[in-house]
Amino acid sequence: MDATAAQLAVSIRDLSAAYDDVPVLADVDLDIPRGQLVTFVGPNGAGKSTLFKVLVGIVSPRSGTVQILGGEAERARVRGDIAYMPQQEQIDWDFPASVRDVVMTARYTRMITEGGPRRFLPTRFAAPHHHTAVAAALADVDMTPMAERAIGALSGGQQKRTLLARVLAQDAAILLLDEPLTGVDRDSERLIMQVLQRERDRGRTVITVTHDLASARTHADHVVLLNRSVVASGPRDEMLTDEMLTRTATARWMSSQDTSRAADAASGHGTKESSR
């Protein structure tokens, strides 16, 4: 068990999760292999974001176990193995910080755990490799010229690239990205996908949530079909068939409203509007 679990990025058994008393996820069993571009696909309210929040650690599961990289999830978090990219709306862009300040936060846990007494000092005095990692991440997303700019002065695409640089600077084994391609222009989209594919080729596991079936179709290696539970999980071409998508849309526990949204999602129309 341990030998195979260590090959997996994420291994979930019998997971259930709920907000107050409303169940959102039940009987989730899921193994995500390492080194792949993985996308969670499912209708609105299917629990995609909740499963994400369980992995990030802001929602605690009601029951079941979550193993990350073959060990306890919390240990992986403390090691800095999980990098998380939120949607832009979740960030306060009026916060008094520069692009570099924000990307630097990705190094904070490492500075704290390996820093010795230096961990208490301002980031300016952190070890050089932290600054190198931040500079490399900024260069990867073409934000080097804007490193000292206040985050309040960024365009939507630049905000997204700043958050992506933060994920890259963390040097994590697992990258969790919430809707990485929503609300970006063509150029930013191409750049983001290139970066994510390169991270995958370096052996990292990239997990995204998307409402956009078209992008899952072109970019993902591995697809997890979700609707309150895992409907199916496997290589993209086996998952994104009409039959499988219909099965996902009509999975149990669905209200009629959910079904109509899921039908939209399955036919590839109107998916973006329903995300709001």
């Binding site: 802001i58 919390e74 978090r77 916060f95 008094p96 924000v102 936060t105 846990t109 206040a150 963390q170």
Partner: protein
């Protein structure tokens, strides 16, 4: 043990006052004159400490949108002050206990019922405040109540001053040493959690610092006005700069300046010191509102005017 600590504290206070006086001697006579009195010197040191520490914390209050929480905690310390007075404890301790209990109570109601945070705060702090007023009306004179409500910085005695300095030192130390945790928790708590930080501990730690600072400020500006010192300097700095360390520096400076100028003016015009200090801070805010290089109203009018004349 306590006596030795207090004696040590008083030595430090005297040294600090001596240092302050050395600077004040350099100022022209009419300005330095009021500070010949011992009560003015103690008041000055208290005001500087409180202004600086409140200024630092007010940045987090602004960025976390905790103004109402600050107001709630400051009102909630009243019953603690009253009970401590009854038991003959330093009122610092009682205030701290009820302040902390109220913030935990607010969190509990918020998390376990459908009541929203603003109502939870309104509920808890008015109840605690009412309890405080009832107890005090039974045991103390109304002058005493007035001092707690509105502050009496010129009546500060040595033990209270020592406690204020200690509270300030703890708060400043924690903000400096845990800057990274506080930055990340304030900016993006979800990322803080994903990186294995204990966001619950940081959350309650920050509330604890807030309570400590409020209690330390009671004698200077009083319960009613302390929230002004926890909002106004930070809001002013927020209009002026775009980096957190700079914002903290500017905010602390504005806090100290308001406290010192307010104390002086209140002596000269013989008016309430707490109110004067807050009015000076509000004056700084209005200046920033008008003249801030990026967000100031003047600048906006000017660019609009220029755009119109250009047409």
């Amino acid at each position: 043990m306590m006596e030795a600590l207090l004696a040590f504290g008083i030595t430090i206070v005297d040294a600090l006052i001596a240092a302050l006086m050395a600077i004040i001697q350099l100022l022209p006579g009419p300005v330095s004159d009021p500070f010949r009195y011992g009560f003015m010197q103690r008041g000055l040191l208290t005001a500087i400490t409180v202004g600086g520490v409140c200024g630092v914390l007010s940045c987090y209050v602004i960025l976390k949108r905790w103004s109402l929480l600050g107001d709630a905690i400051s009102h909630a310390v009243l019953p603690g002050v009253a009970i401590a007075y009854l038991l003959g404890w330093p009122f610092f301790i009682g205030a701290f206990v009820t302040g902390a209990l109220t913030s935990v109570g607010i969190g509990f109601i918020e998390r376990h019922t459908r009541i929203k945070p603003d109502a939870a705060m309104g509920l808890m702090f008015t109840a605690a405040f009412a309890l405080g007023i009832v107890i005090i009306s039974q045991i103390a004179t109304s002058t005493h109540l007035m001092h707690i409500l509105f502050g009496n910085v010129l009546g500060v005695r040595y033990p209270a001053l020592v406690l204020t300095l200690m509270a300030g030192l703890i708060t400043l130390g924690a903000v400096f040493l845990y800057y990274k945790q506080l930055f990340l928790y304030t900016f993006d708590p979800v990322q803080a959690r994903a990186m294995g930080m204990h966001t619950g501990v940081i959350h309650y730690g920050l509330i604890l610092l807030l309570t400590l600072t409020i209690v330390a400020s009671l004698e200077t500006v009083g319960i009613i006005l302390v929230v002004a010192m926890l909002v106004t300097p930070g809001a002013t700095a927020y209009l002026l700069v775009n980096s957190l360390p700079l914002m903290i520096g500017v905010s602390a400076t504005i806090g100290v300046l308001s406290a010192v100028v307010g104390l002086y003016l209140s002596f000269v015009f013989n008016v309430a010191s707490g109110g004067t200090i807050v009015l000076v801070a509000s004056g700084f805010f209005i200046l920033a509102l008008l003249f801030s290089p990026r967000q100031g109203l003047l600048r906006r009018w000017w660019t609009r005017h220029r755009a119109r004349t250009a047409l």
